[in-house]
């Protein structure tokens, strides 16, 4: 009798131990589906920028799954609408923090990125973020969507010098930043300023304003008085559209060249306010305007999955396709290294650093991620708004590494 009792107890304890061990096993060996958590703004103030990018990523994942997945491993797309709210982003992250199926994630906000960087320090998970140079300066699990903001600013300095020379101007040009008054609005000068000064371009005092500002006369007037030859405009469109409207009304566009950072006018913005944006230059790490409309890959994906006319496609769709190609390549690399049953966060993190040079069909530049590189690519293109269209004025050009010039804490 006693022996029976002990036998039963041992049997059930064995089951219990299996139960305890299984979470570890499931965290290390995942079934043949992995997930990407997209903490994006599907509604809210910057949805106009983030929805196209998230749509591109979701569609690319659909296409991978329709082909049977990556070597048989399907990808689940989990989209959460964070509505431009950091608390919501952290809360949503918490919900999935211990889900081993989620092997990578993406966010669209610089402040949320800074918080999540701390929260994921001990258990790194690949997190894609817009363009904060800090993630390149302090290497970790955060990977930018394109060249960092300061790299784009440095590329703009090179373009400014070329433009200045072509116009036959003498002396050194000056440039000023006009952008949102937050971490994002200051980021481009952390290394970008050093690059400009190294190249002999004078950087004037920035004019920073609260998001949601509708009238820019005061900031523009101050920049004109300071003698700016070029103004680098940050913010998410329609910020750029409203700034150009006021600059045109004040007669400033004749003497000052306005250049937008990544989040400026897209095909949608120019179709709504073509006259206001006329002449604005845009630096971009993804195809936009005419380039995007004519790109075969973008046409194929947009018409297949969104089933909408091409004229409704926002260039930001290219960002998502680029992110999707990187994700697919990283999963493929991880499968090659450890097999399809061991796709952990750690392995995907290692693989993101292994896909250097991946060609992304020209919708964005080739992948630059590497063990010591967190910027997605090294190239940008310049565009100009002309008669309501966004026309390329350069081919892909190098975005210099400005992050390295800044003294980071």
């Amino acid at each position: 009798m006693r022996r029976d009792r002990i036998r039963w107890l041992l049997v059930w304890l064995a089951f219990a131990l299996l139960g305890c061990v299984s979470p570890l096993t499931s965290a290390q060996a995942i079934a043949k589906e992995v997930a990407f958590l997209d903490l994006s703004d599907f509604t809210g103030p910057v949805a106009g920028l983030t929805v196209p990018a998230s749509s591109g990523l979701e569609d690319y994942i659909k296409s991978v799954n329709e082909k049977g997945g990556v070597e048989g491993v399907k990808i689940k797309y989990i989209g959460v609408d964070t509505r431009y709210d950091v608390a919501r982003t952290i809360s949503a992250f918490k919900r999935y923090a211990r889900d081993p199926q989620v092997v990578a994630m993406g966010i669209c906000s610089t402040p949320a990125g800074k918080m999540l960087q701390r929260l994921t320090r001990e258990q790194p998970i690949v997190c894609t973020v817009p363009g904060d140079g800090e993630f390149q300066a302090h290497l970790g699990n955060f990977f930018t969507w394109g060249p960092t903001y300061q790299d784009a600013f440095a590329a703009t300095i090179d373009w400014v010098l070329k433009d200045w020379k072509e116009k036959g101007k003498e002396g050194d040009p000056s440039i000023a930043v006009l952008s949102w008054d937050n971490a994002y609005g200051r980021e481009m000068l952390r290394g970008g300023k050093e690059y400009a000064e190294k190249k002999g371009v004078k950087v004037l005092k920035s004019e920073l304003f609260p998001t949601g500002t509708l009238k820019y006369d005061i900031y523009l007037s101050r920049l004109a008085e300071a003698g700016a030859n070029y103004v680098y405009v940050g913010g998410v469109d329609p910020t750029q559209t409203n700034i150009m409207r006021d600059a045109t009304r004040l007669g400033l566009t004749k003497d000052i060249k306005f250049i937008s950072d990544y989040w400026g006018p897209t095909a949608l913005g120019t179709s709504l306010h073509p006259e206001a944006l006329e002449g604005m230059v845009v630096v971009s790490f993804f195809l936009r305007g005419e380039d995007a409309q004519n790109n075969e890959m973008m046409k194929k994906f947009w018409t297949t999955y969104r089933k909408r006319p091409m004229k409704e496609m926002n260039g930001g769709y290219a960002i998502g396709l680029g992110l999707g190609m990187s994700l697919e390549a990283a999963i493929k690399d991880a499968i090659k290294r450890v097999g399809p049953d061991k796709l952990t966060r750690d392995e995907i993190y290692k693989s993101y650093q292994n896909i250097t040079g991946l060609d992304r069909q020209g919708v964005v530049g080739p992948v630059a991620y590497a063990p010591k590189v967190r910027r997605a690519s090294d190239v940008v293109k310049f565009y100009v708004v002309k008669s309501g269209k966004i026309i390329p004025i350069t081919d892909w050009v190098e975005a210099p590494n400005a992050v390295a010039l800044h003294k980071w804490e």
Partner: protein
């Protein structure tokens, strides 16, 4: 008969251990506490200037506390799936294990007022669908410790408009 009793004990023990082993979120019995300031409020634009605050104690020094609202059955919030909590605020836990977290204007507008947004990035209060009056459970969770503390927030009926 006794053999079956032992079998039952074994099953219960196994199930209990499996539940503990599989639990995704750490369940930490501790002395964490949460206070909501104010714990009763009507929804008014004043909450943008003077937002609801959450004060917590008993968390792990150096961690981040995220404060969430548990949605009662029948109450929906735009973009929040059923069964999901709504993130309201977050704060850094100090070396004494305490934190203070204020709701950001975007959080107050998104979750209390459920506002829409214009293309110029302005809240469109005309399209707002404020949370219904009632008592809402608030939970603060330390990350990564998993320590939790609970409190309530009562959303009051709006004051009747006075005729001028």
């Amino acid at each position: 008969m006794r053999q079956y009793n032992w079998m039952l004990v074994g099953i219960v023990l196994a199930v209990a251990l499996m539940i503990v082993g599989h639990s995704g979120v750490k369940s930490v019995a501790g002395d964490a506490a949460l206070t909501v300031v104010p714990d009763k409020t009507a929804l008014s634009p004043e909450l943008i200037k003077q937002p609801v605050q959450f004060k917590g104690t008993g968390f792990e020094p150096g961690e981040t506390a995220v404060v969430e609202m548990v949605l009662p059955k029948g109450v929906t919030v735009k973009t929040v799936a059923e069964g999901e909590n709504v993130g309201l605020a977050f704060g850094d836990v100090d070396d004494k294990g305490a934190f203070v977290a204020k709701m950001a204007p975007t959080a107050t507008l998104n979750w209390f007022f459920q506002t829409e947004w214009t293309k110029d990035m302005k809240p469109n209060l005309k399209e707002a669908k404020p949370l219904p009056p009632g008592t809402y459970e608030i939970v603060a969770t330390g990350m990564p410790s998993g320590k939790t503390a609970k409190a309530t927030l009562e959303i009051l009926k709006p004051a009747p408009k006075t005729e001028k």
